[in-house]
Symmetry: C2
Subunit: 503 residues, 2 copies
């Protein structure tokens, strides 16, 4: 039904709208007139035998001629065009999967085929931000049931590449977010790979947190690996730490995460689908899921934990994965750093066995690595943590980490921020509670994860005795504006670090 | 906490993004660098002592210098700036009402204050399309309860102007959508005003239908009246038919409707709030609500009708309005025309007492006008329709309608389409069912409501005997492309007009 109607010559205006596909056309363009296109019309744009759907912005000035068109930067790259190429425009077929979203909004359960259609339309770029936001919100609000989460997960796996490995045990781990600085992955991968298991780890960038593992590792090495490169690194070193986005595993996930970030939500059903679609796509067979529970963590109660655990277990089973779910302490940040480079420094300290290394980060990494070693048959039950500790403390894990970084493209030291400011205690007392959510907000306002050196260095663990004027945390930023902004927010929220009053 | 940091000179690039506020800045701009702004950052933009929040698109070409900025056309108008004016940029305060949307997503009931904050932030332009879409979807999915609908309605009234009239009875009506061509309002207003009652009618543009009353009346006269003009027209003629959008009554409604149109939904709670906020804001005291019920209408069952009726009655009571809810036939289109100009022609035929005027449209207009005449004390119970019929058939209503149009800015004949194409019956039989939803879709693909002359002329009422090859409906378009597109859609859907096979 699509009806190719005319050609316009491309001019590069260089407008970066991030992932939203936009086409710019002059108001006097004959194609718009004959086709009835107006601002906000969704149009099928074809060039080089590839098509995508873009939203029309009309140009009412001389930056374009009526016979010309321009594309936003991501559209330009997706269609792989160059200046003076031609694009053809046509009406789009109605995006039929949108009716399943309306169906979900009205409370219906969606089928496997309906999720497949939605996800493949999302990956094909047929959804505008308005549609994506509605899909995410509808699934969050209506609380997908377990069957729907299974359908959604499988649809997300199908929509991208899938890896296969010639090993009976392919290990993987995932930590549910919500705890600033919970950055065990690089340490765990190094230990597990050093022990001789296969662990082709892909990680995501931050959704609502100040840093994702991919953001953190990117301050030390290259994380956007091709599938071929990833395979090479794993064959050479047994493990890797790659950003899942560029590999093309579960590509829908990256599109959905971008809108979730704008909404500052990460709802349960989509979280489970997001995590497990990545695990299934990467070819994992054995997965350890770490769920931190605490009063301001993402999961706040035993009840929520049990519900999420059940979701993970049921969906894992449907996908044919073996899974172990661990409940861990989610009451406060792990390590001292919050933000990409600051977390990377914590990781290097632990791997280096520095005296001032964060003990909690070390212990948690040993717990998770130990569980994986037992799960993969490298250690008898109950003994995994001893082997993990040994491989960490004898320096073997550090060497393995550097070797992995070198295989991925070289190791570099994480950067240091240009501006810092210390927040001190207003009175003497003992730290009784940490507001993780607002602490993360301060780190984000400081610029994390976009500015790699930005974030927070945190010194006030729960139970610490604090003097008046003692440093609680230090804000790091790459710009003055960000520092002022993070500071004013920090000052406007009382008790980010709650200190008991001595009586 | 907002922190004004620097000035950029404005250049008009003339980019029309509709209502989405966008600011364009060069990638090398020092403000972006020092503040850490990147593509998609939401920024507070101030000029002429007014501020709005806009989304940043970064320019990676020479169409702007690093010391310049541009604004999308709607932003330019909203800030009332001119070329070479300066704008200052600063970080925005976090939009705190967004957390109430997250709360709604997680199933909580929202309070009156929370709705007030959401609606006033929406009117202030603080929500991106992603946020608006999430709010609309969350409220639709979670099914607002009656208390929340009352809060939402009052918040929408408060966020705009409110009119007051020195009359004990200020009449109003509303027809719930879903029936193509259900355009009784102009006829009802003419009759009721002619009878001596006050009826300051505001109407909306189409949400998901091929025409709203404002779109239809706009083909005959001016509908974007100021409050002063509206008052003048009503004082002179007793009634008016104005577009609610420009008057500033319930301005949140127009923003919400725009996103609902992209999502092609019009959920119950928001519909009730949208309708009644407009009635309360316009100062109505007596309101008749017409709810068409039919298998492909918006309201499809007795149960849905009763639920909606209850919502209207409870919310009306909370707002201090008197309301009568009527259930009407929603099985097929009313009149022959679907689309702004075609519906306007139907209206003029009825007012003119043409022989070929649509009888169903006439009868329904008499029913609604009669109910209003009784409600307003101009006729004893059960006699309203007689008075209404008399005022229509003696030509008084027609004269009143023309007088109202003249008072609003002059009367003109509705336009005629450049292209038409007739759809004929594939076989002999009797019309047994009309697929209103797909019929409306064909009219929209033909260009309605954007192209005023576009739409459908409909000839195949339920029960009609039809010969093979007989005209069922005629598609009208303003462009060839739209005609081809509407046609291919019409041909791809079987049984838009379902004809029984003679046996």
């Amino acid at each position: 039904m699509s009806d190719v109607i005319n050609k316009l010559k491309l001019v590069r205006l260089g407008i970066d709208t991030k992932n939203e596909f936009i086409i710019y056309i002059h108001e006097d363009c004959f194609v718009c007139k004959s086709e009835g296109f107006e601002t906000s019309t969704r149009i099928l744009v074809t060039a080089n035998h590839q098509s995508i759907i873009a939203t029309l912005d009309i140009i009412r000035s001389k930056i374009l001629k009526p016979s010309e068109a321009s594309l936003s930067e991501s559209t330009w790259e997706r269609l792989n065009v160059k200046e003076n190429d031609f694009v053809t425009l046509s009406h789009i077929n109605p995006v039929t999967s949108l009716k399943y979203i309306r169906s979900k909004i009205f409370g219906n359960e969606l089928t496997a085929n309906e999720f497949d259609d939605i996800i493949s339309d999302i990956v094909a770029g047929k959804y505008s931000n308005i549609h994506l936001s509605s899909f995410i919100t509808a699934c969050a609000t209506a609380n997908l049931n377990v069957t729907e989460i299974i359908h959604l997960t499988k649809a997300m796996v199908k929509a991208g590449k899938q890896l296969h490995w010639d090993h009976p045990c392919v290990m993987d781990k995932h930590s549910v977010g919500g705890i600033p600085g919970n950055r065990t992955t690089p340490i765990v991968v190094a230990i597990v790979a050093e022990a001789g298991l296969i662990i082709p780890k892909t990680s995501s960038r931050a959704i609502t947190s100040p840093a994702g593992t991919a953001d953190t590792v990117e301050t030390m090495t290259v994380v956007d690996l091709s599938v071929e490169k990833m395979r090479q690194v794993v064959n050479l070193e047994g493990g890797c730490i790659a950003w899942g986005g560029t590999i093309g595993l579960s590509p829908a996930d990256d599109i959905i995460i971008r809108v979730e970030r704008s909404l500052d939500i990460d709802p349960t059903g989509q979280m489970v689908a997001s995590v497990l679609s990545k695990k299934a796509a990467v070819g994992a067979t054995h997965v350890v899921i770490d769920i931190p529970v605490g009063p301001t963590a993402k999961i706040r109660s035993e009840q929520e934990f049990l519900k999420l655990k059940e979701y993970f277990e049921v969906v894992d089973k449907a996908l044919g994965l073996k899974v172990k779910v661990l409940k861990t302490d989610g009451s406060q940040p792990l390590g001292k750093g919050i933000g990409p480079a600051l977390e990377a420094k914590d990781i290097l300290s632990v791997l280096n066995n520095d005296k001032q290394a964060a003990l909690d980060l070390k212990q948690k990494s040993i717990l998770l690595a130990g569980t994986l070693l037992e799960f993969g048959g490298k250690s008898p039950p109950g003994q995994g943590h001893l082997l993990a500790q040994q491989l960490l403390e004898n320096g073997a894990a550090f060497k393995k980490f550097i070797a992995i970084c070198k295989a991925q493209g070289g190791f570099k030291e994480p950067p240091t921020a240009a501006y810092t400011y210390g927040i001190v205690a207003a009175h003497k007392g003992t730290v009784v509670e940490i507001d993780n959510r607002n602490l993360a907000m301060v780190a984000k306002l400081a610029g994390a994860p976009h500015d790699p050196a930005a974030g927070i260095e945190f010194f006030a663990r729960i139970g610490s005795a604090i003097d008046k004027g003692q440093l609680l945390y230090r804000i790091h930023t790459e710009s003055k504006g960000a520092l002022q902004y993070a500071l004013s927010y920090a000052r406007s929220i009382p008790n980010i670090v709650k200190i008991s009053r001595e009586t």
